[in-house]
């Protein structure tokens, strides 16, 4: 079969690819889901630790997209969608090539930017969300800090450390 030819996956991110034009912002398709490292870390219960931030708060990108954006493994990037924005790490995807797609493992980081729209089918749209990704110098937040920043459940009035601006939008006007 013709589509059996399995794609070669480059091991090194090349910054000097002749056909890779440097961009500051990429329009991508966001997918979320689980992978074995995120699953192992979450189910062991190590969610407060730095390990979880790296396992779950990481956008896995195609190496060519990374070259275009000028980022290398464990650089920081900000991902924006219609529902919110979050700072995550970027890393070279093991499933490459998938140009124009990024994959963020499910977790508090991905939650901020996925769509809660269920189309009356009970299941939110976790996959195939249009997003943009840009390089940033900000540090991705640890789980507890992220939960406090995003949901502000126990935020004190004088505490003005909210970096993410307004609370996540659930587009309640639609209902």
């Amino acid at each position: 079969m013709t589509y059996v030819d399995k794609p070669p996956v480059p091991n090194v991110v090349k910054f000097d690819e002749p056909n890779a034009k440097k961009r500051n912002k990429l329009e991508v398709m966001l997918n979320t889901g689980s992978d074995i490292y995120q699953g192992a870390c979450k189910k062991r219960g190590s969610t407060l630790k730095d390990e979880y931030r790296h396992a779950s708060g990481t956008a896995y990108m195609d190496p060519r997209d990374m070259a275009r954006l000028g980022v290398k493994n464990w650089d920081k990037a900000i991902v924006k969608t219609a529902w919110g924005e979050v700072v995550v790490f970027v890393a070279h995807s093991r499933d490459a090539p998938h140009e124009g797609q990024i994959f963020i493992c499910k977790g508090p980081w991905a939650n901020v930017i996925v769509s809660p729209e269920t189309y009356c089918c009970c299941d939110p749209t976790y996959k195939g969300v249009p997003a943009s990704i840009e390089k940033t110098d900000e540090e991705p937040l640890l789980m507890a800090d992220l939960m406090a920043e995003v949901y502000q459940k126990y935020k004190k009035a004088e505490d003005d450390s909210n970096k993410l601006g307004k609370k996540p939008d659930n587009n309640i006007d639609w209902y």
Partner: protein, 470 residues
């Protein structure tokens, strides 16, 4: 990966334990336990019956990376004592009576409570949960609402050509994984049930089987399969329709469908027709994309069409070890698999209305009880934001993202390690998961916690307890 020395520093071996991670429910695990006293029979260092009191699991044999990491849990983040959030917003340790009374008061006084979770606990716990839900008019929902809910809707639409995993192991010569990455989410599925094991009619194991993976990404499962069909993102529905058309002898009008050339689709359909026994496993890639349950509808219809030529079956790849259990339990008890609303006094189920995500997005619930689940980690923030406005009761074993949003924390116990219980495998086979070690002294069984909440709510409402809950 660095070589790790085998674990030799253990005192007891507990055999035939069941893994409490994914829907595979591998029931051949061996726990290596250190310390404690055996309550039961012991032969050499193998615990024949009973459990080890006071010990802890230092090693697991046969489990995958996921199962082993869950069983050898991170004790740093284990919830050990009940906690209540104070006025400052800090979780403060308290005693069981205070925490349970506070939780029961919240539940009894609520107008629209939602009890979400249940997939990582036992059927025995759900029994009390259902009674409590009926009493207070709650919505009972489980993780199917964010994973395989559309699959259950499709089953209601189109049928359920199901098999057991044993049949697949002994008979299947063509395995199709679509929209899931079994090597990452169900690592032993291929090794134990579908691809690698030698079966009665498949004596050579992997060599007698063809593995097809359909996924837009070139996943780890795709890397080890014979055929990878990398259709476009959101192209599932069109692709399955094209396959059905070819199967019914129609000519395809377009040359390329969802990124796949039509000759390849014809060739794939031909090889699927030639299979003696085919098994299709579908995952969240189908349920989370835009067409949702219609993707599954068409996949089920495809399987029905294939049965005109050969024998084909399908199984949804369920995520948690007992997510299928809640659906089977609720369907048996109330007639609906998930998202059951008791607000009107009788069970009601309406997709898009009585499901947790929709309720939270519309900001309806006034009390939210999380039991053995983690909405903080898995709900979209547009739904989660309502949890910041309402009291949240959490019954769980680890400090997770949901604990950051919880007002009352009740530490439960770990089913299949610290407590026994029944669970249902992804193909609907019930398995009793036995207790291997004792739970931490200050924790309680999930069953006890929910029953205690039920008794306290009955007391507040002035209702005599039923026989079962006394």
């Amino acid at each position: 990966m660095a070589y790790e020395e085998p674990i030799t520093d253990y005192d007891y071996i507990v055999e035939n334990c069941t893994c409490a991670f994914c829907g595979c429910n591998c029931d051949d695990l061996v726990y290596l336990v250190k310390g404690g006293n055996v309550k039961g029979e012991l032969e050499d260092n193998v615990v024949v019956s009973g459990y080890v009191d006071g010990g802890h699991v230092v090693g697991v044999r046969h489990a995958c990376r996921l199962g082993a990491s869950k069983v050898m849990e991170d004790m740093d983040q284990r919830l050990l004592v009940p906690m209540i959030r104070d006025a400052e917003g800090n979780l403060v340790e308290t005693d069981w009576d205070t925490a349970l009374d506070k939780a029961a008061e919240l539940i009894a006084g609520s107008v629209r409570p939602v009890f979400y979770g249940w997939s990582e606990t036992s059927i025995e716990t759900m029994k009390f949960g259902l009674e409590l839900g009926e009493l207070v008019g709650a919505v009972l929902d489980n993780q199917a609402t964010i994973c395989h809910g559309p699959s259950l809707q499709a089953v209601q639409n189109a049928g359920y050509p199901v098999m057991t995993l044993g049949e697949c192991k002994n008979r299947a010569d063509m395995i199709v994984y679509t929209g899931n990455n079994a090597m990452n989410s169900h690592p032993r599925h291929l090794a134990r049930y579908s691809t690698f094991p030698r079966g009665f009619f498949r004596k050579r194991g992997r060599f007698d089987r063809t593995v097809v993976t359909m996924d837009p990404r070139y996943t780890d499962t795709a890397k080890m399969s014979d055929i990878w069909v990398g259709f476009e993102q959101n192209g599932d529905y069109e692709f399955y329709n094209a396959m059905r058309a070819v199967l019914r002898g129609k000519k395809l009008q377009k040359d390329v469908i969802s990124g796949i050339p039509k000759e390849d689709i014809e060739e794939l359909v031909e090889s699927m027709k030639q299979a003696q026994f085919g098994a299709l496993f579908f995952g969240l890639g189908l349920t989370h994309t835009l067409s949702k349950q219609r993707n599954i509808d068409i996949a089920i219809n495809l399987i029905q069409d294939l049965n005109k030529f050969s024998k084909w079956n399908l199984i949804p790849m369920r995520g948690h070890f007992n997510v299928n259990g809640f659906n089977i339990f609720m369907a048996y008890e109330q007639g609906f698999p998930y998202g059951v609303d008791f607000a009107r006094g009788y069970p009601r189920y309406m997709n898009g209305e009585t499901n947790t995500i929709d309720l939270l997005t519309r900001e309806e619930p006034d009390v939210f009880m999380v039991i053995a689940a983690d909405p903080g980690a898995h709900f979209p923030s547009g739904a989660n934001r309502h949890l910041a406005n309402i009291p949240v009761i959490q019954i769980d074993i680890h400090w997770g993202p949901s604990t950051e949003l919880a007002d009352i924390v009740l530490p439960g116990s770990f089913i299949a390690v610290e407590a026994g219980g029944t669970s249902y495998r992804m193909d609907g086979v019930p398995i009793y998961m036995k207790k291997a070690i004792s739970k931490p002294e200050t924790c309680r069984d999930d069953e006890w916690i929910v029953n205690e909440l039920l008794k306290r709510v009955q007391k507040i409402k002035g209702i005599a307890p039923r026989e079962a809950s006394k």
